[in-house]
Symmetry: D2
Amino acid sequence: MINIGVIGYGYWGPNLVRNFSEPPESQVVAVSDMNQKRLALVKNRYPAVEVTGNYKDLLSNPRIDAIAIATPVSSHYELARQALKNGKHVFVEKPMTATVEQAERLIEEAERCQLTLMVDHTFIYTGAVSKIKEVLDSGRLGHLYYYDSVRVNLGLFQHDVNVLWDLAVHDLSIMDYLVGVDPQAVSATGMSHVQGQPENMAYLTCFFENKMIAHFHVNWLSPVKIRQTLLGGDRQMIVYDDLEPSEKVRIYDKGITLNDGKEHVYQMMIGYRTGDMWAPQLDNTEALRIEAAHFVECVQQKKLPLTDGKAGLRIVRILELASKSLAERGKLVEIKY
Amino acid sequence: MINIGVIGYGYWGPNLVRNFSEPPESQVVAVSDMNQKRLALVKNRYPAVEVTGNYKDLLSNPRIDAIAIATPVSSHYELARQALKNGKHVFVEKPMTATVEQAERLIEEAERCQLTLMVDHTFIYTGAVSKIKEVLDSGRLGHLYYYDSVRVNLGLFQHDVNVLWDLAVHDLSIMDYLVGVDPQAVSATGMSHVQGQPENMAYLTCFFENKMIAHFHVNWLSPVKIRQTLLGGDRQMIVYDDLEPSEKVRIYDKGITLNDGKEHVYQMMIGYRTGDMWAPQLDNTEALRIEAAHFVECVQQKKLPLTDGKAGLRIVRILELASKSLAERGKLVEIKY
Amino acid sequence: MINIGVIGYGYWGPNLVRNFSEPPESQVVAVSDMNQKRLALVKNRYPAVEVTGNYKDLLSNPRIDAIAIATPVSSHYELARQALKNGKHVFVEKPMTATVEQAERLIEEAERCQLTLMVDHTFIYTGAVSKIKEVLDSGRLGHLYYYDSVRVNLGLFQHDVNVLWDLAVHDLSIMDYLVGVDPQAVSATGMSHVQGQPENMAYLTCFFENKMIAHFHVNWLSPVKIRQTLLGGDRQMIVYDDLEPSEKVRIYDKGITLNDGKEHVYQMMIGYRTGDMWAPQLDNTEALRIEAAHFVECVQQKKLPLTDGKAGLRIVRILELASKSLAERGKLVEIKY
Amino acid sequence: MINIGVIGYGYWGPNLVRNFSEPPESQVVAVSDMNQKRLALVKNRYPAVEVTGNYKDLLSNPRIDAIAIATPVSSHYELARQALKNGKHVFVEKPMTATVEQAERLIEEAERCQLTLMVDHTFIYTGAVSKIKEVLDSGRLGHLYYYDSVRVNLGLFQHDVNVLWDLAVHDLSIMDYLVGVDPQAVSATGMSHVQGQPENMAYLTCFFENKMIAHFHVNWLSPVKIRQTLLGGDRQMIVYDDLEPSEKVRIYDKGITLNDGKEHVYQMMIGYRTGDMWAPQLDNTEALRIEAAHFVECVQQKKLPLTDGKAGLRIVRILELASKSLAERGKLVEIKY
């Protein structure tokens, strides 16, 4: 049995408490939040859980094995660092930290203490993304040409981070998991429409080796909600629409064929192939439930999480450099590893 | 009665011939194409129309008042220039020319000869775009924050121009008409996946004054066909989906509200407003029919076309600079006027 | 404060307990269920609520003002009757009873005891149905020609009632509320595909005065989930799609126009009119929450519920006669009032 | 080479002329219509085709091998009969005749004269219906439980036949082809909303042996256009949506499983199974083109058409009896063979 303490009971914290409470292998023993009303909610729903306005009560609580952090990103590093220092395993919300440097330090600290550090890249644990990974690994898409995602809706404007850190973080973590290689450079554009506030819409291009390219469109000011990703391979292609109630993942047996030909008969060179479409059945288990169980398993068996500190770092690195490019209106920023 | 000669009977030429043949005010008297099979098609459908393998027969034909040009973009300038020199009005396919310099010369030549020069920015003449223009002009969207379009499908790969010149040209001409102001800088990214061929997918950002931003996503290698444009204003927003059979234009009474507030109570500053959606009835008349009639009217009454040479130039200018940015992976290119 | 006892904690009971617990004007004090595992769930989530395996404990509990019944339909009558006899107000699941006779007796008993009898026709309390009612009452649809609904999906096969009692009950209650007049005859067809089980798919036509007609398609064995209703008026028409995430209700300014003309010029008589479409913003409050508050208000202020016993009776009457027609493969069954 | 004469150049006639003109094996030599304006249209598009206001000119023309009839249904029988009498093969629009008796006589006459009689059940020749037939014949759906179709839109009100003869004729012919067995009884309901005119909306149930059931919903007064068919088998199910641009046919690996169990444990008996969805690529060739070629082949090789006179009769029989049931508001009408 793993005992969990949760710091932060705002938007996402209740999901963490619920999902760490339900499995038999873990239980939530304490929750901290600076807002007393939020703590009253905890007490109402979970009378047996301790509540406190001071997160340090959790860090010093010897019954607690692991800390789950669901606070604004600016506090992630400090809270996670202290948790590790106090011998607690850490499960931290995305983005893992506010800077690359912080991410690197956390990874180092977790390794030093031999404690589990896992970042909550929730989508990785959905049935849809698992199935896409399986399809990609089977090789049926062939060589991957591009990854294109759109994640737009109306609200909720964040005040401390731009829309890339809030929305693109999901897509970057999905892409990172699916593609498995790191981008070499980024170019981002966008705009803030509210004086003094971070960018509320942004477009990010990631360049990879071998002509692979990825693009991300995120927007807090869209009249309609869109969650659509295209993956184009040289043999097959995928459309992943997270708002589809039943067929979220569609695999199209479509593509181009390149024929050898003399250079002057251009029209002969490229053929188009269209075939069947297939929408595989997906596992509908709540992603966070699978993820919570995975965290518990990693802690108990000292395994490396699928979304470990290094995964968190990779995403933070792209976000940091993308924000830099964004500030310079599309300037190409190379990524050093 | 205006007599038209059509140069080029490939993909789009048949539409020009049909639409200039039907109205009582114009008729097609001759068609030229280098391919005899295409000319046989003309003869079969329009026995009364003269056909020729040499476009110069059209230019020297005294019965012909105007030349419609539907050939590859690289030939537009030379054909249009010669037509003007021979005293013919010109209706030319988009993009108007292959370079800004060519566009400027054509405009100059047309003005000098007092002949009509019109570019076929077809979408401007659709019921959908007309209605959006009407809504924008009514002011109900408020200040326009952004324009975002996606135009992707599988094929047809062009060999002489990249995907911006082939697909984004449509969206740029729509934006130019709707927004009515010129961008100040562009940044474009993209990729060619076929060795030795132009870019088959691209992302283009246009920066405007007053925090307006526009973005264009075009792709010849998408498993699904998407034709979707979002226009975000500070009061209302529009979704224009050209593939919707009936409700192509939807106006959403949605937006954010900015409240005065002390700076430290960030959460108070931005409110979200959602209201009704309205899909106005659209005129379903074929755009090219309206456009053909407009060209004839402009020629007869010496009026300036809605899509005149200057409209053609504005689009070519963006395409030229976008291609430059594309080659330098997102480098910001300022536009001088 | 109204104290509620809930009988039955199966599929729907948890929603009743939650919605009667949250408002300040009511609280759930006890829950009965024959299944001990279900009672353990109650105890876990609501430690302060009494649980019992015997519903009679609720009827005899002097603290309890009202009984909410969420058991199989065959038990509704007996439970509701006993509750009224014990001086409790009654909130009962749909269909209200298994027969017309039972429904009539319950209404009589509630009137005699001056107690509130309300049936849970949940959809009446949704923002979508409220808005449609408002539109209908405004007269903009003109004379209502037809009501057509489809409610199909895969599962859950019921064993005690046919698919009309399980699914059409929703649509009949919506129609009853919206249309406000009673059908004069019914004709139903359908089929049972599982030996010894009730019909799993059915089609029901209701005939009204003045050429109004209603039709209901319900099916437990559909590969896709559909929840779509069409309302056709002589001036405007409505499409209500309950699965649409945002625009559930669409009002079409479409219809036919009848021109006076000599009888032999048939083609002149009917014109078609198409205009704008309008999707009004809807109240997203959970229907059961509004409904629970309405029940409490009716009890406290001795008001007649919107969905009173007579509304329950009207639906049961149609279901009873429709089942009779179903057994005789479409035979017309007149309804006597 | 087969020479065709076409009687009737209204809504559908132009499609017949075009499709019989294009293949090398057939040509249209003459067209008759009572409207001179329609004949002028023919002359304009097909200068080589003879036109006449008197269909008898076609019947007596020795150059003509076959007559295609695209006139109102009430005239089909007489025109087809005379054509056969004059030794012409016949291709006739759907519904084949206005009565069962007429259909039987035509079949008899064609057999007697050894001439081809084919009815234009166009949908049978689409890629979508061909693919569904292939899937059904493969047995993967298992035993077919039901066929359910919806074909509704706004207009065009017919004056001589009710909506079943105009719209359900398509679905009945598709069902007839796919299912391959005859219904044993029908029940139909519907309504006429325009004084003195035939029913403009109708619902038709067909009962088959072995618990198979089919239902058809047709309506000229719907605000939206719907063309959707569900086919439910005990192993798999199909959704055929003719308005889908790309994936018209979707095969769902879904169904119920029946477990042996003691009768009192009802809940154990029925399981639900959901699996992948598959949308096969479809042949996009114009159906009428395939059909025209098939007619020519049948004439030349004396083969029986896929949609022969007997297919036409089967559909007319259902329509005739359905109209009878419709007039008696759902009364069951048995079908004798």
